[in-house]
Symmetry: C2
Subunit: 152 residues, 2 copies
DNA sequence: GGCTTCCTGCAACTCATTTGCATGAGTGTG
DNA sequence: CACACTCATGCAAATGAGTTGCAGGAAGCC
């Protein structure tokens, strides 16, 4: 076996299953499969990418995938990203332990070529804008658009 | 008549018609009506808002509105904003005279209550993020999410 | 007024996402 | 270990924004 330092699929599945258990919910194969996939992904995945990948060795209904994703977001295990193409992308919420809610303080990078979206590190804290009177900011969303390393 | 200092509808229509003429295109009532509406709006309008408003005194086909909006964006007279609800919003491109293209350097504010989106001033120039190797940024998108003055 | 070309309106379509409902599978209990 | 009680899944059908093809209509130019 190759001297890979990356977590194996099995390890990721174990992580995924643990997270699902910790959420106090039933451990089902669709949940496990989707979360394992998200944990292994290097970029935010669309619903389509997920169903396509899963269909190779496990038939999961499209609707179920939608519901699993929705549930993951509710649990704070993943977050959804809106893009220019009106398609949701999903990525695990990393940092701050398991149920890291509100970790939406990081920026995103969207490749205009391949459409892939990546999570970046925390955004600069100094994104303060002067607002019209009466406006109150709750969250800030920062998306860089350009060409990713794979497409240049 | 009230001592309004805001441009009258007639004046806006004149502005709209001038902009359309300057673009070297035919002046048609759908184009004029849509652009007049956008010029008068204090927030970015959805396709739905536009057709609903127009239908009061001028029947314009949904598809035509879509095409007019697309055309306005192509001409640099308007820009389209993607939101969380997978609906495009359109706003006139202000500043730098008529055909102000690339004025996408401003931030947006999206109200989580009513869904309305507003254009803010220029974003802080210092939104530089460290990117993974090989990534090249072309445009930056900054959206503040919170409660607008009307909803608080 | 007549011509040419671009624009509009209509109908039908695409495609991501959602909803309703009946069946089926986890999980705690006896 | 079987049983029941939910909760989750699968299927079918619906929703809703946005798109496409095509034929008729109207701006702009002479």
């Amino acid at each position: 076996m190759p001297a890979k330092s990356l977590p194996s699929i099995a390890a990721r599945k174990a992580t995924a299953d643990g997270l699902i258990r910790d959420a106090g919910a039933r451990l089902t194969s669709p949940r496990s499969a989707v979360l394992t996939l998200l944990l292994a992904a290097d970029h935010a995945l669309t619903h389509q990418e997920i169903t396509d990948t899963l269909s190779v060795d496990l038939a999961v209904d499209r609707v179920t995938v939608y519901r699993v994703l929705e549930w993951l977001v509710e649990q704070g295990l993943a977050h959804r990203i809106a893009g220019e193409d009106r398609v949701w992308r999903f990525s695990v919420s990393r940092g701050k332990g398991a149920g890291a809610r509100h970790d939406h303080r990081h920026a995103h990078f969207a490749c205009t070529q391949c459409g892939q979206t990546f999570c970046l590190g925390d955004m600069p804290a100094d994104v303060k804008m002067k607002l019209p009177a009466g406006f109150r900011t709750e969250t800030v969303e920062l998306t860089l658009r350009g060409v990713c390393s794979h497409c240049r």
